[in-house]
């Protein structure tokens, strides 16, 4: 799990369960239940901060990701393949050009 700009109490809470290998980066081997509870706790207490959780999953990538709090980054699932989509300046610049064409019946 990674935390960014969250209240210190949440960081302390997470460090009870996981090892903080770098500021804001928490690693540990937790059960699925503990992992979900920690995620709920992080999301409820993150306020304006951001958090990410990556955990082992039985899919082709071998892991799954969930993210909270960053309006510019979203997770996209391309036919079941999870990737991060970032809405940056270059994307906005190209957006009009590469959006799918509008359906004729909407015009």
């Amino acid at each position: 799990m990674t935390l960014e700009a969250v209240p210190p109490s949440l960081r302390g809470e997470l460090s009870r369960w996981l090892m903080e290998v770098q500021p804001g980066v928490y690693v540990g081997n937790a059960t699925a239940l503990v992992r979900d509870l920690l995620w709920d706790k992080a999301v409820q207490n993150a306020r304006t901060g951001r958090c990410t959780q990556i955990y082992r999953a039985n899919n082709e990538q071998g892991f799954a990701v969930r993210m909270y709090g960053d309006p510019h980054r979203t997770l996209v699932s391309l036919d079941g393949f999870q990737l991060v989509a970032i809405r940056n300046a270059r994307h906005i610049e190209l957006q009009g050009e590469y959006d799918p064409p509008e359906d004729d019946d909407k015009l």
Binding site: N59, E60, R90, Y98
Partner: protein, 312 residues
């Protein structure tokens, strides 16, 4: 880390081939449409309607580019360096238009394939082996090719009937009109979408392992004959369960659901790994070019002579 003196970071002139994950360990495929691909830094970025996506191309087996995609020259170079096959496909990945280069640099396997293909005896042996692979219980000895084709037809017909009963989807016949996709029945659409995925994967496996998609053994006369050969080994086992299941489920987005379902199914079957192994089994051996960067030899009827030297 070695600086190049110009101050703009490191430049690797050649991809270290050892650092590439083996084809069978990679992830199978990624389908994109309405996307612009560019190289940035040393990564490949896709400007997707959802946002900018950095693609893990080095571990990706196949990149399927659908309608509305454009690729920069540098992005293709990066894809080719990492051995990611690029296929240009129709909407929903249901038709294959063109393909790029896989990660093979040696022609040893291609030459062996051509030798097996050119001799009627060895070609027949490969064809028989390919049919035998589809029958777990084995085929009776001494069948003619025509009898083998009969057994294969019965196997396919039985499989369709079995899945049709299991999922309660009415099955009449396999039909698809190239010119009129929308008029096909849902199950036929699901099958076409699923088959296209298997074709793409087989095509990528063939290119990545260094064989030719054109030199087919069972199929013949098309640039993708060998792709059809390889895909036919797995089609029934891989596509039918998913296609019938999704066709039995009501709702939109049938083709996408088939592709998503197939991804899980292919992972469970370890299909990429099996394709690579089966190709080597069929076409024999696994000897590698000792130095893929060295110049190739020159052919001589008495035996190859060393290339890259002046024979004057």
């Amino acid at each position: 880390m070695t600086g190049n003196g110009a101050g703009n970071g490191i430049i690797w002139h050649r991809q270290n081939l050892r650092e590439l994950p083996k084809f069978r360990d990679g992830t199978s495929y990624l389908y994109l449409e309405h996307t612009r691909l560019e190289q940035d830094g040393r990564g490949v970025r896709a400007y997707h309607p959802e946002g900018m996506i950095t693609l893990p191309v080095a571990s990706l087996g196949v990149l399927l580019l659908g309608p509305g995609c454009s690729v920069s020259h540098e992005a293709v170079k990066a894809l080719s360096d990492t051995g990611c096959s690029v296929l240009w496909v129709g909407e929903g990945g249901v038709r294959l238009y063109a393909s790029g280069l896989g990660e093979s640099r040696s022609a040893l396997r291609l030459q062996r394939q051509a030798r097996l293909w050119a001799n009627p005896d060895t070609r027949l042996r490969v064809v028989r082996q390919m049919y035998a692979m589809r029958f777990p219980g084995g085929l009776p000895d001494g069948l003619t090719l025509q009898q083998i084709r009969g057994h294969e037809g019965a196997r396919v017909r039985d499989a369709y009937a079995r899945y049709s009963r299991a999922y309660g989807v009415r099955w009449e016949q396999r039909q698809y009109k190239q010119t009129d996709w929308e008029r096909a029945t849902p199950i036929n659409k699901a099958l076409s979408a699923g088959n296209a995925c298997v074709y793409g994967l087989a095509h990528a496996a063939i290119l990545a392992t260094g064989y030719s998609p054109a030199l087919g053994f069972v199929h013949t006369g098309k640039m993708l004959s060998f792709v059809y050969d390889v895909a036919d080994l797995y089609k029934i086992e891989v596509v039918l369960p998913t296609a019938f299941r999704e066709a039995a489920t009501p709702g939109d987005d049938l083709e996408r659901r088939v592709r998503t379902g197939l991804r899980d199914h292919m992972t469970n079957l370890r299909l990429l790994e099996r394709m690579a192994a089966d190709l080597h089994l069929l076409l024999g051996g696994d000897d590698m070019d000792p130095d893929p960067t060295a110049p190739g030899d020159l052919w001589d009827p008495l035996g190859d002579v060393q290339g890259g030297v002046n024979h004057a």
